[in-house]
Amino acid sequence: MSAPTLPLPDVPPSPVSVDSERNGNVRELIASKELLRNLTIRELKVRYKRSALGFLWTLLNPLMMMAVFTAIFSTVFKSSIDRFWLYFLTGYLPFAFFQASAQVATGSIVGNANLVRKVYFPRSVLPLAVVFSQLVHLGLGLGVLLVALSATGEFRWIQYLPALLFALVLLAMFSTGLAMLLAAANAFVRDIQEFTTVAFLLWFYATPIIYPLEAGSDNPIPATVLNAVRLNPITQYVQLFRSALYEFRWPGLPTLGAATFSSVAMLAIGWTVFHRLSPRFAKEV
């Protein structure tokens, strides 16, 4: 038998004893990055663990949605949108990421009640792990989209990659903010979970995924409604994605500004509310 291995502390004993930081600040979150990574991997692994196609569903799901909507809008509703499949995917992929992040994260505190009641760790890793795992799904979806674009001989997207990455960051920030807000609120008021199902259905139609945003004779949506749709922050992100992957041009400054503002504001609100409420999670779940 080999000599027993010594379990050595991974960090040398620190010269200054650290008072456990249980204040939920950014530093504590950064110190928990391995936990965040492991929880993200758990989300990814568990989701398709017992399905035959497994991870393929990440790709199949948007493709099937695209097929359904393209079929409907090319036959029944006769959409005037050019390359409907691309228009749809550039709106649907970011929206699906946003919806899944917020909806799954809503249940993340209550769903891990066992952990929250028994172990201390920065609670924010729970909704964040959901957002990160959804980000992986979105990344794969976008990857396939880029391959498909290239296959059709379209390479202009390469030039606009920085805009695409920026749009991703902004969307992820906004989604994180809402995910944290909903997760925290749901720990206290369980109705949130039920409510989100309907809310996100409405949100889907309030986002220009299957109709054009510009008013015109061929757009069945009235101009007043379209103006309201423009106020939807997700519309701004979808516009950013479309300018990089559909229109192949740089986004306008007003859109960029509005999207940045929404992202920062949502993240600040979500983060603040979450950390205001998180000390009471263990008593409420």
Binding site: T5, P7, P15, V16, D19, R42, K49, K283
Partner: protein
């Protein structure tokens, strides 16, 4: 196989501020809101009259406690006295409503074994996940992984790459315990999780916790097994209705608490032992635990042969059950533990309603003092407890054997003059 438990050198602390392992609880109050009917929906929250929504309950009422690195403290008290709440406050799970809590260094809580295990992940994946939930890095878990798995036993190590959904509940707990005791925190918090698995595994667990204690880990424990507490801990804290009733050495606090329980139950008869925890699934029940002493004189004298005898009744069909008993000194020191499984004694088949009398003869080579006996019946493999009576029987050993310690190793003393060389 007894594994050599690794003991990393603890570097001498020369830093600034309290050393890792220090816990300072200062004037902590903790309130819970009790909803008459748990109000969790919007309607209840918004429309329920304010008066009947919540009643405030103070689980902790101004508790202060300071632990130095390496301290071991037993938290004792009745249900609802606030001991588990205090553990959660130390662990950081519940921030205090009033007062302050500071813990220095890394804290690991063992409030539930395998908390956070996911059924669809393999044992290996869960070990790493659990490690990071408890605050330990991947590279640290890498170092202790093999020890951890071999500690959990061959069944678990064979199944380490299978989903834990397929594990038996025993395997699940073993793995959970192995994870918890192989991470070396500065502060370890344990709540009622010590009584897992069979006797062998329990012993393994205790050895490991003692090892952590020797390594200077600060330990705070809640358990109903008072003997365990007094043998594991140096310090004791008795909580009553959220406040500190008594603080002192663990042995002292446990004694006072036992006395209090006896008084509560209307005063114990002299010589009647107030037993400890009784548990088991009830497939067999134990009663009438008594001591048969040497008839030539009263009481038990050092060196007497006595029989610890009890009746067992089967409430269902059981095959070859294991009967066992443990003798401890009054301060909880573990002296002697034996059972029919280890002694390879076949006990036969029992049908529902069958009764038998079980006797353990022992030579009471014990010095004068008080001793307590725990008796138990369990399944043929020892892994499922039918009925367990902690400290079911207490007896005093008297006599004029003059020595210090616990056991009478007896023997004569010889003094023989040696031939002196070179006078």
């Amino acid at each position: 196989m007894m594994e050599e438990i690794a003991r990393p050198e603890k570097a001498a602390y020369t830093g600034v501020g309290p050393a890792p392992g220090t816990v300072a609880v200062d004037g902590v109050w903790e309130s819970f809101k009790i909803y008459s009917e748990r109000a969790e929906g919007i309607r209840d929250r918004l429309f329920a009259g304010r008066k009947n929504v919540a009643e405030e309950f103070w689980a902790l009422q101004g508790v202060s406690l300071t632990l130095e690195p390496g301290d071991t403290i037993a938290l004792i008290g009745e249900n609802g006295s606030g001991k588990s709440t205090l553990l959660k406050v130390i662990a950081g799970i519940l921030p205090p409503t009033r007062g302050t809590v500071h813990t220095y260094g890394r804290t690991a809580s063992m409030l539930e074994l395998g908390a956070g295990f996911h059924g669809d992940l393999t044992g290996r994946e869960n070990v790493y996940l659990n490690g990071s939930i408890l605050g330990f890095s991947q590279s640290y878990v890498d170092l202790v992984f093999d020890d951890m798995v071999s500690f959990a036993g061959p069944q678990v190590s064979e199944a380490i790459d299978r989903a834990v959904r397929t594990y038996s509940s025993g395997m699940y707990l073993r793995l959970g315990f192995a994870v918890a005791v192989h991470l070396q925190p500065d502060v370890l918090i344990i709540d009622e999780v010590l009584a897992v698995g069979d006797a062998m595994f329990q012993k393994q667990c205790f050895d490991r916790i003692h090892e952590l204690k020797r390594n200077g880990v600060t330990i705070a424990v809640v358990s109903h097994d008072l003997d365990t507490l007094s043998s594991l801990c140096e310090r004791g804290l008795w909580l009553e209705k959220g406040g500190v009733r008594h603080e002192g050495t663990a042995i002292d606090v446990v004694d006072r608490y036992r006395q209090h329980i006896v008084e509560l139950q209307g005063g114990g008869e002299v010589g009647k032992w107030e037993g400890g925890a009784i548990y088991g699934n009830g497939a067999m029940t134990i009663d009438n635990v008594h001591l048969i002493t040497d008839e030539s004189h009263d009481g038990v004298t050092t060196g007497d042969r006595v029989v610890i005898q009890f009746d067992v009744t089967a409430t269902e069909h059981v095959e070859n059950p294991v009967f066992g008993m443990i003798v401890r000194a009054n301060d909880g020191t573990y002296l002697y533990d034996t059972n029919t499984l280890w002694r390879r004694q076949h006990t036969g088949s029992f049908d529902e309603g069958d009764v038998a009398s079980v006797g353990f003869a022992i030579d009471a080579n014990l010095l004068p003092g008080r001793y307590v006996c725990t008796v138990a019946a369990s399944r043929s493999d020892g892994k499922q407890v039918y009925d367990w009576h902690t400290d079911a029987l207490g007896f005093d050993v008297v006599g004029d054997f003059i020595a210090n310690g616990l056991v009478a190793l007896a023997g004569e003393i010889s003094v023989v003059p040696s031939p002196v060389v070179g006078r």
